[in-house]
Amino acid sequence: MGIGDVIGGAVGLLGDPTMWVILLAGAIYGIVAGAMPGIGQTLAYGLILPFTFALQAHQGVALLLATAVGVAYGNSLPAVLIGLPGTPGAVLTAIDGFALYKRGERGVALATQYLAALGGQFVSAGFFVLAVVPLSGLAFIFLPPELFGLYLLGMVAIISLTGKSILRGLAAAALGMFVGLIGIDPITNFPRYAPDQSFRTGLDETALVIGVLAVGELFRQMRQVYQYGADISGEAVPKFPPFRKLRRIWRPAIIGTIVGTFVGAIPGAGGGGAALLAYQQAKIFSKTPEEFGNGSIEGLAANEAAQSAANSGEIIPALGLGIPTSGSTVLLLTALMLQGIVPGPQMIRQTPELLSAAVLGLVGATIILAIVGWKAAMLMVRVISFDRQVVNVVALALVVVGVFSIRARVFDVLVCLAAGAVGYFMLRYGYSTAAAALAIIVSPRLESSLRTGLRMTNYDPMEFFGRPITLGLVTLATALLIYGIVAEVKTRRRLREAVRSGPP
């Protein structure tokens, strides 16, 4: 399958009018959900996931990726309009974008964000195709030992790079792995930790993952009653500024796009990490670095382009290798599993239309954003003003009904809510819900590939770990684990020394 086939497939999918509706619905839902502070990409995915069950696999992928494009744009709107970052990646947008907004350069701030998001998303979709097509062609070299290395690396990367405590990250992953084991042993076919028939089919992975990632966060938000507030509802829509005022944004936008695509592909790094790195790089190359932090359009452009480009970056390993890189890609792969597709390096080779649908979701939603995004920006002020408590309750009800609708089983909903309760405590006490969710999905496959691989290599560790790709992946995983442990030890030591030396 070549790049031409992928693009041809994406264009072919446009012949189905349903895809247009799906792209439009996904992009608009994404902008609205993203504009609500507290609802990031993971929660937005979690709310819409049950709906994908009624769609075909490629339609579900297009819907979720169109949502991701909308969320990346929507997340930055409260940051620019009222200085409230919707996600960690939008913190720098809130600093520079809101500063621009406050000194009367509203049109410049919103136009910079709008153009950088569009450019970052559009160009990174091209990088995505260039990266995934060769990756999927390598699928045949991933035998069980290589698959084990891949799954292990994915899990360790998320643990080391997302949480601040490696101990708690490992504990969270172990808990998720245990939950993933409940049901039938993949080799012997005998039950494990399954006292009755409800457990023998295994706990529903969709319900578990939505519970841990989305419901846990919603429950946590129920602790407090407050509104985000916005006092700009009476303001007129700013005019789009002349392009000469935006001349300086092209270089930082390119930096943001490249950094966002590559950093987004690293498990655990995500849009937040990409945005920060892109911001730093743009400052280094800028002729006016003193503006950064005080209303710099270059900083804003780099940040926005990186966040949008990370959407494409993070699905490179997710679709190319079947390895989720974040909570939202865990949900993306869960949506595919709902359709009976097994995540893994063979996924694209066996279902090539998924790749075309992914490209269509990214590019199609970007085109829709280009048409509606400017007008949507000011309309989103109303969304920010929605009663936060009402939004959270409606979101919970949608999850209950949505999860119920998958198999019409109350047990699945109870599993989801139980996972949500566990997720509440995990979030409150620093145990990574992303690591747990990833482990739930990956653990049966990790174990199966390990046991099958060991049988394949006659239980000879030298033969198992001596395979070049397996060795490389396991070495990288070990290095990441050591990095995480060393970083945590150093942080704790610095903190103790700071306390011992007392205040200056």
């Binding site: 407090q224 209950v400 019409a408 309760a421 509440y424 049988r455």
Partner: protein, 166 residues
């Protein structure tokens, strides 16, 4: 983050790790597939071991920080918004209410359970205003029904109103 609750949670995870290993040794059948030397008990042992070591170490670090009056360090816990009162009982009440809603969905039925859920949840979250209640408790369940039933083709249970609606 309450250090006492933190330690208790860590110890619960240690107990879960011990239970995983113990229950696995007692209940998992082994030795049925030729060549599978690792067997079905190996992964539970590894997982249980990781939980015991990591959660146990986490508990010890927290106890040590507290006993030496040192800050526990940033473990990445999600913090509440500053200067706004937080209520764990409110969150637990919503958890319980949502669970009751899930159970009632099948028994009592969607048309009765959903408006009731919204009514009680919004009241618990201090939402006031008759128009909000009218829209959320009446109009929204209808809109949700139309989306799920008509657009997605999902049958939502009528429950007690089955004789009336069918």
């Amino acid at each position: 983050m309450n250090p006492r609750v933190d330690v208790v949670l860590s110890l619960i995870l240690v107990a879960i790790g011990i239970a995983i290993i113990a229950i696995g040794e007692l209940t998992i059948r082994t030795g049925t597939v030729a060549g599978d030397l690792m067997g079905p008990r190996a992964m539970p042992r590894i997982i249980g071991g990781i939980l015991i070591v990591c959660a146990g170490a986490s508990a010890m670090l927290t106890v040590r920080s507290v006993s030496r009056a040192l800050p526990a360090g940033d473990v990445g816990a999600a913090e509440d918004e500053p200067n706004i009162p937080a209520s764990a009982p409110r969150a637990f009440a919503i958890m319980g209410l949502t669970t009751a809603y899930a159970v009632a969905l099948h028994g009592v039925g969607y048309p009765i359970a959903t408006p009731l859920y919204f009514l009680i949840a919004l009241w618990l979250l201090e939402v006031r205003g008759w128009l909000t209640y009218l829209v959320i408790c009446v109009a929204l369940p209808v809109a949700m029904f139309l989306i799920f039933a008509e657009v997605l083709g999902v049958l939502l249970p009528a429950g007690l109103l089955e004789p009336v609606l069918s």
